[in-house]
């Protein structure tokens, strides 16, 4: 088991504005699996992702990633954890505007002890011909590819994707999902994908439904459909 979350609780605000977002989450994800987390707005899926990513502190419970317990880690140690183990992909690409595609990826390449081969990664993501372009010269899909490449170049063990296709059209979304599938297959990266998109659940190994801060359903998808064949994206 690569990821193990036990009785995770997280709340925000005080007194009048107090809101309990995660009300005791138990979740396990196998190494190399792709897991999708679904749920309506405000169900707590992004908060869960942020807690696993060490971006948000947990109130109680336990988050164990690759044997590392995140609860109680200092900000510095959390930063080391993210540096060594994690890759993040967001709905908005948040690229450095005045660095080229290649340089944006290199920013994270330098963080890793054994990064992936940059040229190979560019080739895999179809960015070779765009490597010297600035983000403003790219389409949304190309920018997201760049963001994926930036997240992957460190060769992270866990890739956290927060609405990776949220800002993309159907065709581009499919391209991105195919890419993630390929990365998973090629590098064995464990992936946690938070999405509203109902079709993505067909391509992953594990599906988790959240409702009001609790896991409503958690099941393994035995009949995976390749991303290229997904409909209604």
């Amino acid at each position: 088991m690569y990821l193990k979350v036990k009785n995770l609780k997280k709340s925000y605000g005080e007194e009048g504005s107090y809101i309990e977002v995660l009300k005791g989450i138990d979740l396990s994800v196998e190494k190399g699996d792709m897991c999708v987390i679904q749920g309506s707005s405000g169900s707590g899926k992004s908060t869960l992702l942020h807690c696993i990513g060490g971006l948000d502190e947990i109130d109680s419970g336990s988050v164990l990633v690759g044997g590392t317990e995140l609860g109680g880690l200092s900000a510095g140690k959390l930063s080391d954890y993210r540096r060594e183990s994690l890759g993040f992909i967001f709905q908005f690409y948040n690229l450095v505007p005045n660095l080229t595609v290649k340089e944006n990826i290199q920013v994270c390449e330098y963080l890793a002890d054994s990064p992936l081969n940059l040229e190979e990664l560019l080739e895999t993501l179809g960015l070779t011909e765009h490597q010297n372009k600035f983000p403003s010269q790219l389409s949304g899909g190309q920018q997201q590819r760049c963001a994926i490449a930036r997240a992957l170049v460190k060769n992270p063990k866990l890739l956290l994707c927060d609405e990776p296709t949220g800002a993309l059209d159907s065709e581009t979304s499919r391209d991105i999902l195919v890419l993630l599938e390929e990365v998973n297959r090629k590098f064995g990266t464990t992936m946690l994908i938070v999405t509203h998109n109902n079709s993505i659940k067909y391509m992953v190994d594990q599906v988790v439904y959240l409702k009001d801060g609790r896991i409503k359903r958690d099941y393994r998808n035995e009949e995976k459909v390749p991303a290229a064949r997904l409909e209604d994206l």
């Binding site: 971006l55 930063s79 993210r82 540096r83 450095v96 005045n98 994270c108």
Partner: protein, 770 residues
């Protein structure tokens, strides 16, 4: 990673080239002002000090009625004091100018030849530099002193005549009418024998204490030296002596003893330059604060704009210190390069060289080289980048302390939401909402404007001080002539107004100045001082009130150095008189207080030139000399004022540009969005830009009086060594002019910046909006 991010630094520099050029220009200009003013002041102050030390400048000098006897000289020498005769005779030259001739010096106050040589043989003379410049005299020329021809062997300076004042009481140097010269001992004796001098020989001794005796101890030795009145062949003295019954008290031999510190001829260039020094440093500190502030505003603005990207990098594991180093790199690089250029310019002939021209045209000082004082070099080269590192470190650290998630979400520190109801038309409500939403930016603009206004006020205060001195000194001086007696006549000259003056001392901010306690009649026509009877009541001149911050009801304490006692007076009020530090009191009360006869006087004022023998007088002051003295003060200050004023206006314009750029940059996206909705240029102007105008106008309305008040408080410290009143008031026209200037500047800058904003395509805005 830093290597990759470094590429971004140069692109950021390229993208915002105008902003960084403006910032660089600001730093270059700031460092140029500081280095040129302070560097020139340092060069003159330290250079003249070193030259004076090398030339064995005196510790003091004293004048005697008759030369000291051998025993008296021996008793002084035994105390460890080095003594040298600096006797002199004054000669009138054919062009009506006057030359004071000394024998060349061997022990104290050596003459330094700038060109040629010190007289080696008879028939040679060394003349003082300023006199030669005014009379177009070169080495090798001939001058006639008395009836003897001298060949000018050299042109130079003497440390005891930096200000070539004929009398200690003279207020200005007039090198057209007065100069000094040095001849061999034999020639001096020959001149004396010929008896062509216009007055009798002056017996002055210069001394060096050599650390073996104090000034007070020497004073005591000198005070013990007495003489018989018969030894003095001055007819005016004899007449006065007989009439006043002086024979009843012992006659001191020493007329006057003055230390080097009190001597207005010594180290006067340094004293003059110390104003530049203080003003330059003050300007430097303000400028440093100013650009540290601007850089921090830019950095904060940049980080806020890039918050999501920073948060993402954080999420990826990039550490705060790595980003901190990255965000510090560009400001430090820009400030260092600009500071280096500014410092180099400051030390060039356009800077220090230019500021050093003026003192050479007034003071008789030897050529001194440009000094690179280590503290100033450090200030010029290190302080700007250090200030950038320090302030940026603080603000960036604070900004980067926010959690990665907050940065990714673009969360700002939220204020408690207040549901303000604003009534009025849509445009009115929109404008107010815009101003309230951007109040942090408005405060930033206000602070930037306030700091840059301080530099403007510094230079305008210098200007106001000079203008007031020039105008008021002439306006307040109602007499045409003021005669100060050494030996007063029996009767007050007809048509003149008698007065009784005693010079006392008063200290402020570490400097001691002469204050004249002046006894006058209530109905005297020359001062608006209706003095009240009473030995402890005075009216003070406005200059004294301003300099010492005195008011009605305060106690004025003066130190009578000659008699070693303090006097305390209650101030009845201030009288408009800017040309000197005066405390006016009823003349009869003053005579009584000082134990003088009921008809005693030692000063007369008149509307016309009086026929008084010069031998009776210490000094004569004419209204023209007062005017000239004011204009000399103004002309000495002019280069500094021009430099400061021009630079401060430029600095202000640049700061305004940068601040408004921040304002308009923040509005640019919204303005472009309005264009997408179909708003026209005029309508957008109404909604956004008029709100900015309101912010600028309000900032100016608050900033102008506030910066003026701050600078008025600070200014007395900058001119603490200058003996003048401190009327720093601005006319309402000046205030209006500054306000109008700021608004005009706003419209120009606004037009420039809006031109850029209007070029942004709406489609591009939408694309970048994410």
């Amino acid at each position: 990673m830093q290597r990759i991010l470094r590429k971004r630094i140069f692109r950021d520099l390229k993208e915002n080239i105008f902003r960084y050029l403006a910032l660089g220009f600001l730093i270059i200009l700031g460092m140029y002002i500081v280095i040129s003013l302070v560097g020139a002041a340092d060069s003159i102050i330290e250079g003249t000090k070193d030259a004076a030390e090398a030339n064995h400048v005196e510790d003091g000098q004293f004048q005697v009625f008759v030369p000291l006897s051998e025993e008296e000289k021996l008793s002084i020498a035994k105390a460890g004091v080095v003594l040298e005769e600096h006797f002199s005779m004054d000669y009138e030259l054919p062009d009506d100018s006057m030359l004071r001739i000394f024998s060349k010096r061997e022990k104290i106050d050596f003459v330094q030849a700038d060109s040629g040589n010190i007289p080696e043989k008879n028939g040679e003379i060394l003349l003082e530099r300023r006199y030669c410049e005014e009379h177009d005299i070169s080495t090798g020329d001939e001058v006639m002193i008395g009836d003897i021809h001298f060949k000018v062997s050299g042109i130079g300076t003497a440390p005891d005549y930096e200000s070539v004042l004929r009398n200690f009481s003279d207020s200005t140097v007039d090198s057209v009418r007065f100069g000094i010269g040095f001849v061999t001992e034999e020639d001096y004796r020959l001149l004396k024998e010929r008896g062509e001098s216009i007055s009798s020989e002056e017996y002055s001794y210069a001394y060096l204490l050599k650390g073996k005796i104090t000034q007070d101890e020497l004073q005591e030795i000198l005070q013990d030296m007495e003489m018989s009145s018969e030894d003095i062949d001055d007819e005016f003295f004899q007449e006065y002596w007989e009439r006043t019954g002086g024979w009843m008290v012992p006659l001191p031999k020493v007329m006057q003893c003055i230390t080097a510190g009190e001597n207005p001829r010594i180290a006067s260039a340094a004293a003059d330059k110390s104003v530049d020094h203080a003003s330059g440093l003050a300007a430097g500190v303000i400028i440093l604060i100013l650009f540290a502030y601007i850089i921090s505003v830019f950095t904060v603005h940049g980080i806020e704009r890039e918050a999501r990207m920073i948060g993402t990098l954080y999420a990826m594991g990039v550490k705060k210190n790595e980003l901190l180093r990255h965000y510090l790199a560009l400001p430090v690089m820009v400030t260092f390069i600009a500071a280096t250029v500014g410092t180099a310019l400051g030390y060039s002939s356009f800077g220090v060289g230019r500021q050093m021209i003026q003192p050479y045209g007034y003071f008789s000082i030897p050529s001194v080289g440009v000094r690179c004082e280590p503290y100033l070099l450090i200030y010029g080269l290190v302080m700007p980048p250090f200030a950038a590192v320090f302030t940026n470190y603080l603000v960036i650290r604070k900004k980067l302390d926010r959690p990665a998630l907050a940065l990714i979400r673009g969360e700002h520190k939220k204020e408690k939401a207040k549901n303000r109801r604003i009534r009025g038309s849509f445009v009115h409500v929109f404008r107010i909402r815009h101003i309230l939403r951007e109040k942090r930016t408005a405060f930033t603009v206000f602070c930037g404007m306030l700091i840059s206004l301080l530099v403007v006020m510094l230079s305008l205060n210098c200007y106001a001080l000079c203008v007031h001195i020039q105008e008021e000194n002439a306006e307040d001086t109602r007499f045409e002539y003021m005669y100060t007696y050494k030996y007063p006549q029996e009767k007050v000259p007809e048509g003149s107004e008698e007065a009784y003056g005693v010079t006392m001392k008063k200290e402020t901010l570490g400097y001691s100045f002469d204050v004249t306690l002046l006894g006058i009649h209530e109905d005297n026509p020359y001062f608006d001082a209706n003095v009240n009877e009473g030995k402890d009541r005075v009216l003070i001149s406005s200059a004294l009130a301003q300099k010492y911050n005195l008011d009605t009801g305060d106690t004025l304490i003066l130190w009578d150095e000659e008699n070693g006692r303090y006097f305390a007076f209650e101030i009845d009020g201030a009288v408009k008189y800017s040309a000197g530090f005066f405390a006016f009191m009823d003349i009869d009360s003053m005579r009584e207080l000082m134990g003088k006869n009921e008809d005693y006087y030692n000063i007369v004022f008149s509307d016309f030139e009086l026929d008084i023998d010069s031998g009776r007088l210490y000094s004569t002051l004419s209204k023209d000399e007062v005017k000239k003295s004011s204009s000399v003060f103004v002309s000495q200050m002019t280069p500094m004022i021009v430099t400061l004023l021009a630079a401060s206006v430029l600095i202000f314009a640049v700061v305004m540009y940068l601040m408004m750029k921040v304002m308009i940059d923040r509005s640019a996206m919204s303005i472009s969005m309005l264009k997408v909705f179909g708003y026209r240029k005029k309508e957008i102007g109404k909604l956004y830009l008029n709100g900015n105008l309101f912010v600028v106008a309000l900032s100016a309305a608050l900033g102008i009086p506030l910066s003026k008040a701050v600078m008025d408080r600070l200014y007395p410290y900058l001119v603490s060594n200058i003996a003048c009143g401190l009327n720093l008031t601005f006319s309402w026209q000046m205030y209006t002019g500054i306000f109008a200037g700021i608004l005009a500047l706003y419209f120009v800058i606004n037009r420039l910046l809006m031109f850029r904003v209007s070029k942004i395509l709406p489609a591009e805005v939408l694309k970048n909006r994410e």
